[in-house]
């Protein structure tokens, strides 16, 4: 059973006005990793989502031509907090649900003052699965923003909500300026900090690959460090719990389908996005899972991460 058909991964992209959310989303649409993406926009943007990109890359075979131009950008309305909390977002997600069979994932752009953590709650409504909260931060302005009496609390709240942070405009900074920005973020969040331009693989993660055999492998890639591990023997649930607690610095995403010795007849899905990891039991064990009989895990880390640290981490399982 392909659970992706039922539950679309929903990635929340937050960050203050001008941080570069739209640029990032255009980057994802430009290089969608062969995936079909619905983007929900909720911002008075300075620049628009590039509709030409949407038209060009409609993703996988068999999905092409099923949707018209702009077919998967849905605009949301800004909310009136006092007056109504009506159903704007729910209606937009209902529209996404009706096109779910044509989609691989959903990206929700939160407004420049929106609370990404609250928006991420929608990923737990029927039809979706949480795919993390990415908060984009303007590295050249974040310290000024955090000190601003009007918006400091808003920006700090967004950073605190993040599973992953993406630092943009690093090129505008003196070398020590960037590290100061990173220090400011570290005070507010334990999330890994990515730097722009970002490799979309880091944002979408990877699926554990079917048919990988042998020892710990890795995919060569210029921008990030990847390790995958097929499992031959069921893993005690307690080992999974330990594993999630000792995640090395720099791990952006990890995903695995694991057979546990506690529940060998079920699939246990582990998923980690930056700072948050979930372990859920999802459906029966079918035997078609990737790996060497007990599943597989894959992890991706920011450039510069020691591969040995990843190997050691996955080796716990």
């Amino acid at each position: 059973m392909d659970t992706r058909q039922q539950r679309l991964p929903l990635l929340v992209v937050g960050g203050y006005l001008g941080a570069g959310k739209t640029t990032l989303i255009n980057t994802l649409l430009n290089d969608p990793q062969g995936q079909c993406i619905a983007v929900l926009v909720n911002d008075f943007g300075e620049i628009g989502i590039d509709e030409a990109l949407l038209a060009a890359e409609q993703g996988k075979q068999g999905k092409q031509g099923k949707q018209g131009k702009q077919g998967n950008v849905i605009s949301l309305a800004n909310g009136c907090v006092c007056c109504s909390l009506a159903d704007g977002f729910a209606t937009a997600l209902d529209r996404v649900r009706t096109m779910a069979d044509r989609l691989d994932r959903v990206v929700v752009e939160v407004s420049g003052v929106g609370e990404p953590g609250k928006v991420a709650q929608w990923a737990k409504t029927p039809g979706f699965s949480p795919d993390g909260v990415l908060v984009v931060v303007d590295g050249s302005r974040v310290r000024v923003q955090l000190a601003d009496p009007r918006i400091g609390q808003t920006v700090a709240g967004q950073v605190a909500d993040a599973d992953l942070l993406l630092l943009t405009h690093g090129d505008l900074l003196a070398p020590d300026g960037l590290s100061a920005a990173e220090r400011a973020l570290a005070d507010l969040s334990a999330a890994p900090v990515l730097r722009s331009p970002v490799d979309p693989t880091l944002l979408f993660g990877m699926e554990p690959v079917t048919g990988v055999h042998g020892p710990v492998g890795h995919a060569a890639h210029a921008d990030h460090v990847t390790c995958s591990l097929p499992l031959a023997h069921p893993v005690p649930r307690a080992t999974l719990e330990l594993w999630r607690q000792v995640r090395p610095r720099g791990v952006v995403r990890a995903k695995g389908i694991v057979r546990t010795s506690d529940e060998p007849e079920a699939r246990t899905v582990v998923q980690s996005v930056g700072d948050s990891t979930s372990i859920t039991v999802s459906g029966p064990w079918t035997g078609d899972e990737p790996g060497d009989g007990a599943g597989a895990v894959v992890a991706i880390a920011v450039p510069g991460t020691q591969r040995a640290a990843l190997v050691k981490w996955l080796g716990i399982l």
Partner: protein
């Protein structure tokens, strides 16, 4: 040959027209005021007929509600469970639910009525208005609602609209189980959801019931209720203050279909609410709003703009100047403060009237800065840009509002509905006394109106005026006595003051020759009674464009 003229005599007429403030008769021709004066004066009009049917009543200009929402009518399609007595659009008075048992009792009756009317067991029972702030220490949960029905799904929307309680039947039908893992779904000791759904994401788990709750508020019946509720409270002009679809053909048609019917008892001004987009998209939206004016009629107006930039004080989400809330926190922005000018520029440049929701004083600063920028770029005369709610506005801000040619529309009902909570919990007694400071606004020359923000508080201009005149909380505490205004000032605010902010004061707001014959028909004279009784003045009904609409 002239159209027929009818002269209505009355016990008293307060025209709000400064050159003829008091009169005894009003002559109506073609739906408009032909003349106002004494009976003898008007009898000189050739061919006029005298109609004495209103002679025991006091006539005022029809009230103008410059900040409410059309969905207020839709709430009455659900079962009322609020704490205060409230009159429905059909005239029925729903007694307040003063205890949780009252709530259950109310729902049991509603369930029985649904069953007797043939509703299937799956048809959800929807209720609204529950305000647990009045039941300290108690919490409505599924277990209580299961006493009403174990078969029919039940959803009770709380007054804040941020929270709903549902029963077990609903949770079973929608798959809300111990596996449901969401911040807004609290659970009991055994891991079962207790039936509270907090914030919209969790509330949307109520599936069919959630969609029906909001879907009904967009129906034609909802709009009709809205009009009937206006008629019952003496209001002849309503607003739908902030409609994202208002430039769309289908939404324009919905309003035209209902409001332009002769039997619909009110005028409605529908404000456009900007939808997020690029600068080019906003340019286009502004052009669409200008074009939507073409769909306006004598009863229906399109073409003004409303933006929301902060939250609410009772929800701790309004943006306040230091020292913020008593707990030290501050609220939220709905749009980035430095973007307000950019969002509104196309609308300002298109010559449109803009109202901005600012509950907190820090939000007011942002809106005033935006108006300064917009006027520096594109000077406009008589723009009447308005601060909506304007609740914590300080005298320095009121001076600036006046200097910028802006208006203020105060949420004076807050003193009654949440004044006690504001003094004790949100901002403390000193700033609670400053809330909705109508006296200061008037003294500093700010054109003033006051509103209910229905459905946030009940539609009813006399209650709004009473609140500004008396400033009493629900427990009877006098909050900010120095900010009280006179009955005359309050009546001005709910008639001509509001009409001015809607740019309709050339056609409504006073009983003057040339204007529409829109009247509030009252069974007592608000100027002759003890001001403490202002909210209790019985409303006989209204006249709209010369046609009588008795209240239900």
């Amino acid at each position: 040959m002239a159209s027929p003229t009818t002269i209505y005599t009355a016990a008293a007429i307060h025209t709000l027209d400064p050159s003829r403030p008091d009169a005894k008769a009003v002559a109506v021709r073609d739906g408009r005021v032909l003349a106002v004066g004494s009976v003898e004066e008007l009898q000189r009009i050739e061919g006029a007929t005298v109609d004495g049917s209103l002679e025991r009543f006091t006539l005022l200009p029809g009230f103008v509600e410059a900040h409410c929402h059309a969905m207020a009518g839709g709430m009455w399609l659900h079962t009322y469970c609020g704490y205060f007595d409230r009159q429905g659009p059909d005239g029925r008075v729903w007694s307040g639910c003063r205890s949780m048992d009252d709530v259950i009792e109310r729902l049991l009756k509603a369930d029985a009525r649904m069953t007797s009317e043939g509703a299937g067991p799956d048809e959800p029972l929807l209720a609204w208005g529950l305000d647990p702030i009045y039941f300290p220490g108690e919490r409505l949960v599924a277990r209580h609602l299961d006493r009403v029905s174990t078969a029919r799904p039940i959803l009770v929307m709380h007054a804040s609209l941020h929270l709903a309680t549902v029963n077990k039947a609903l949770m079973e039908a929608e798959g809300i189980t111990p596996d449901t893992d969401m911040d807004g779904v609290p659970k009991d000791g055994s891991g079962w959801p207790i039936g509270e759904l907090r914030e919209p994401a969790a509330m949307s788990l109520a599936g069919t019931a959630f969609r029906k709750f909001w879907g009904r508020t967009k129906s034609e019946d909802s709009l009709r209720n809205f009009g009937n509720k206006a008629r019952n409270t003496g209001i002849t002009t309503l607003t739908d203050l902030g409609n994202r679809e208002s430039a769309k053909e289908s939404e324009i048609e919905r309003f035209r279909w209902v409001v332009d019917q002769e039997g619909f008892p009110a005028r409605v001004s529908v404000f456009h609410m900007p939808v997020p987009g690029t600068p080019e998209a906003l340019e286009q939206a502004a052009a669409d709003v200008v074009a939507s004016r073409g769909a306006s009629s004598a009863k229906l107006r399109f073409g003004h703009v409303k933006l929301v930039i902060d939250g609410s004080i009772q929800g701790w989400t309004a943006r306040l100047r230091w020292p913020h809330y008593l707990d030290g926190g501050n609220g939220i922005w709905v749009v980035p403060p430095e973007q307000v000018t950019d969002i509104l520029r196309p609308y300002h440049e298109a010559g449109l009237l803009i109202h901005v929701h600012c509950n907190g004083d820090e939000a007011v600063d942002v809106w005033l800065e935006a108006v300064e920028s917009l006027l520096a770029e594109t000077p406009r005369i008589d723009h009447r840009h308005t601060v909506q709610h304007c609740q914590l506005t300080s005298p320095d801000q009121y001076r600036r509002i006046a200097a910028l040619g802006m208006c203020a529309n105060l949420f004076s009902n807050h003193t009654f509905f949440w004044g006690d909570q504001h003094a004790s919990s949100t901002v403390g007694p000193d700033r609670a006394a400053r809330m909705n400071s109508a006296r200061t606004a008037l003294d500093l020359g700010v054109p003033l109106s006051m509103h209910s923000d229905a459905p946030v508080t009940p539609l009813g201009s006399l209650h709004v005026a009473w609140s500004a005149v008396n400033r009493l909380t629900a427990t009877g505490v006098l909050l900010g006595p120095d900010e009280r205004i006179s009955v005359a000032e309050a009546i001005h605010a709910i008639t001509l003051g509001a009409a001015h902010q809607l740019k309709m004061d050339d056609e409504i707001g006073s009983i003057s020759p040339h204007k529409h014959a829109d009247l509030a028909i009252l069974e007592a004279d608000p100027f002759a009674i003890d001001p403490a009784g202002l909210r209790d003045v019985p409303v006989w009904g209204t006249m709209l464009g010369g046609r009588l609409f008795p209240a239900d």
